[in-house]
Amino acid sequence: MKNSHGDIAQKYREHTGRKRTYLLSGILLLFVVSIVSISIGSVDIPLIDVIHTLLGADVPVRLHSIVWNIRLPQVLTAIVAGAGLAVAGVVMQSILRNPLGSPFTLGISNAAAFGAAFSVMVLGTGGTHSSVGDAVSINNPYTTTVVAFLFSLLVTLVIVAFSRIRGTTPEIMILVGVAMGSLFTAGTMFLQYFADDVQLASMVFWSFGDTARASWHELGLISVVVIFSIVYFSFNRWKYNAIDAGDETAKGLGVNVERVRLLGMLCASLVTAIIVAFLGVIGFIGLICPHMTRRLIGDDHRYLICGSIVMGSLLLLCADTAARVMLQPYQLPVAVLTSFMGAPTFIYLILRGRRI
């Protein structure tokens, strides 16, 4: 079976064309789901009104307020956080050469949770009863967020330090990450044991990842970091492909593997840390979305990075919308649902495929 000379290039163009079609369909679908998501909730808004409101038409103040102040920030937060977690996951899987790599492999979420617990208990930022919505809230969310973020960065720096001493290999990074994760889990348990019931409730409440926590201001901050990381990762897409072919192949292609690995890890950690610090722990998105995308369009990072971003946004947005409406009048934090969805999806992927 031999193709003529022109055939291969033509078929290859069709092959990449299909991937572009998938990406484009994903983006369109995301757009549609966003509109639907804005329209449903404790107050249902007809789709056409949503579109009018978004386009700036003259609508009742109440409608304007629901769409612009409540629903849209939450929808955009889900999109941006999903994109950030998924893109961090894709890069982690490549640079750690491990299909179980995710934004949380390096213990970042455990450190953030410890940071939040530390802030609640030692700095006294948690634990007043709120009259609306959730029973418990954090009375100084900014301090809690900053402390959670600082502890996430601390873990990252510890991993960087070990990598500098012992070499930037996936094994070192994963092992130090697992050790740090375990250490901070122990630290959190220690704090929780001595916390009073209100503090304990605040700590646990903080750890439920929830997109409703972010207002426009926080969304802006998260977006800046997510966009920066996407640009950085896209710039290095060929290098991740090369590293997938093996460190030696990559070095033979002129890639400074250690530097790409270290900077990729730093950037993925940063984007994860900021999402976790503002929203809490949202599991499985960073692990599942890259694998789902690999199924559809393969491991080529030229398409995989973009595909995972769309997949992450779409999945987190769907989960977030479902979490908001499925148990009305209660609004579940999205993390509960992603973890529920994550396990069966992952097992399905394992059963269906030759490899993950």
């Binding site: 079976m1 031999k2 193709n3 000379h5 291969i8 290039a9 078929k11 290859y12 092959h15 050469r97 060929w238 492909n241 090369a242 997938d244 072919a245 093996g246 030696e248 192949t249 070095k251 033979g252 292609l253 002129g254 890639v255 400074n256 690999r294 393969g298 491991d299 080529d300 490899r355």
Partner: protein, 251 residues
């Protein structure tokens, strides 16, 4: 002269691995690096394109010292085929396209696509061009790996045990491919080899390493049973069969 290696030394931590390595290679020649396990064959090969940095010495490719170049510039001059290529879910076409990476600024040009296409054709890989490389056989994967190195448009190909873990048919197939490329593409090749008979069959020149340095070097006429016995510690005889030298252990 396409390659001149002058006094290359390499040490790992404080242990000296290679010392005073000197040899040269002409265009369209294949050189095999031979020697027992652990003698530093792969280390020498990795020093050749500065994946491992030699402590001292010079490696001149067309009179340019590659040890003074950036890694990406080295990748434009030397194609490296490691012992093992990790199979990813990339098509063979994409995997070969990766060889254009040192030359690509931001995106793939039509010339890159054409070059990949012609490389695939040269290596008779048309039938697997759009298959994922994690579904290919060992021999096909190795060919894709060689095609990637050729797509780099190098002056010199470095191959680390290109036939290890391949069956007889694939061993011959891969080395035929290397020989054809070297003859037709104006490149030279250096391979590390374990199988002396395959090395004799396909190489123009040989280096025998012993104790981290070159024990013997030359073309087929310079290789005697004594050299092989002293390098490997096995008594052998060299016979000629249909114009091909064959090594037979006499133990």
């Amino acid at each position: 002269m396409i390659l001149e290696v002058n006094g290359v030394e390499f040490q790992y931590k404080s242990k000296e691995v290679l010392k005073d390595i000197k040899f040269h290679l002409k265009r369209n020649e294949i050189l095999s690096i031979l020697g027992p396990n652990g003698v530093g064959k792969t280390t020498l090969l990795k020093c050749m394109n500065a994946i491992l940095k030699p402590k001292s010495g010079a490696i001149l490719i067309e009179d340019e010292d590659i040890l003074k170049l950036e890694q990406i510039e080295i990748a434009k001059r030397l194609g490296y085929v490691p012992q093992r290529c990790e199979p990813a879910r990339l098509t063979a076409f994409d995997a070969v396209l990766l060889g254009r990476m040192p030359h690509i600024k931001w995106n793939v040009s039509p010339e890159d696509i054409m070059l990949v296409e012609s490389t695939i054709k040269k290596l008779n890989l048309e039938h697997v061009a759009l298959r994922y490389i994690d579904e290919l056989s060992g021999g096909e994967l190795q060919k894709v790996s060689i095609a990637r190195a050729i797509a780099q448009n190098p002056k010199l190909l470095l191959l680390d045990e290109p036939t290890s873990s391949l069956d007889l048919r694939n061993q011959l197939d891969i080395l035929d491919t290397v020989r054809d490329v070297v003859r037709n593409e104006n490149v030279s090749a250096i391979m590390t080899m374990h199988d002396l008979n395959l090395a004799f069959r396909y190489s123009d020149k040989f280096i025998f390493l012993k104790n981290g340095t070159i024990y013997a070097a030359g073309s087929m006429g310079d290789i005697t049973p004594q050299v092989i016995e002293e390098v490997y510690g096995v008594p052998v005889t060299i016979q000629n069969y249909m114009d091909v030298s064959v090594v037979i252990p006499t133990v």
